[in-house]
Symmetry: C2
Subunit: 231 residues, 2 copies
């Protein structure tokens, strides 16, 4: 339940990054459209789930709540992202709750449809393996970051994750987040108290690393942000 590719950013076309055109066409054909209103829940953690979803438009968040009631955001995902793909591959229940942040159009691919597709075209297996491998790498890095990086760094890391899910690269190289995100969301991603997220974000704004345009965050200095997030 994470970003679907490093350094994507482009938001226009139909096929998600990493997916070649032919595979995409097969996918689109086998999948069925689903619509979501803002704040609607696609599925809950613990539900049994069949298949995965591809976001055609809109944005969602994936979250879990811990025993003490804290909401922890795993990711915020936009167009082109794939969600719920773990349930494709094993029979465990959904590991996170997915909620629409604004109206969404999705494509739903059932498990059986996926395997029909993949068996017919083993390239699909390779793509899927690659995708999972990438996510696993990101996830491992997150684990390390979590333990060895300060609040400021974890906030920075959250912004880079947001950028991968929602970012739109501007002509001048800045990255604009195409969805409103609250401090609580960011705090939930970084695993810090909302108040401290507020302080850290303001430091970044003051330092010119982040900016705001019309209530949306923008990343003014992506490399600087990356350095801060470095493990």
């Amino acid at each position: 339940m994470r970003q679907e590719s490093k350094r994507s950013g482009k938001k226009s076309g139909k096929p998600p990054a990493l997916m070649p055109w032919r595979a995409w066409r097969a996918f689109a054909k086998a999948a069925v459209p689903v619509e979501l209103r803002a704040k609607e829940i696609l599925f809950h953690a613990g539900d049994e789930g069949d298949g995965c979803y591809l976001i055609r438009s809109g944005a969602v968040k994936a979250s879990v709540v811990s025993v003490d009631g804290q909401e922890r955001l795993l990711a915020v995902l936009g167009e082109g992202a794939l969600i719920g793909e773990l349930a494709l591959l094993d029979d465990e229940p959904r590991s996170a709750t997915v909620t629409a942040l604004r109206p969404c159009r999705l494509l739903h691919l059932t498990k059986s449809a996926f395997f029909r597709l993949a068996d017919a075209n083993p390239l699909i297996y390779r793509l899927a393996l690659r995708l999972l491998a990438q996510r696993l790498r990101d996830s491992n890095e997150s684990v390390v970051a979590q333990g060895s990086v300060t609040v400021q760094g974890r906030i920075a890391r959250s912004f880079t994750a947001l950028a991968e899910g929602l970012g739109q690269v501007q002509a001048d190289g800045r990255i604009l987040l195409t969805q409103r995100v609250t401090q609580s969301d960011i705090a939930g991603m970084a695993g810090v108290a909302r108040e401290n997220a507020s302080r850290a974000i303001n430091d970044l704004l003051r330092g010119g690393v982040l900016g705001r345009v019309k209530g949306f965050y923008s990343i003014e200095k992506p490399e600087k942000l990356g350095d801060l997030a470095e493990v």
Copy 2:
């Protein structure tokens, strides 16, 4: 670079859990044996890597060091575990350093051998996807745990991870770790200071959740330990 299956524990046979006999035989045939002396390094993080390794005997640790020089242990793995499988699937460099904790016998499967195998028998693809999916679930859980659980809980979680890599279930239900592990290692897994790991471990020993036999840790109350590690 993590445990290869929930609730395994059995250590005798040859095929790693989840891998059916036929697949295993093909694997063994295509792979080449490698030996490692204690403390020898199999590969470093950042190396370019070809293929994966299966542990036939011995134990290894997978670790990364963060920018500030802290060593972070991702896992300690024993017989039957698969390591380095991420490099099978993409062309990124090794994400962790793997070091032998004692003399090891491994099997090495190159990338090309893997794909030859898998293309001939798509079942292998499904197995690999399942394995990765499981690791991704574990990893996601780790991320959440890291942020929302106290030192004691993270230590407990480290012991359950150790048990999956090294545990041997006794007749009476206790789990014995088949490898000496230092407090520094455990602290490195939990991402806490060694001194505090010491205190937490002693609390667990005093509480009877853990025990020691001849310098090896044993898990006396696996369910209790699980509760403490719960997110």
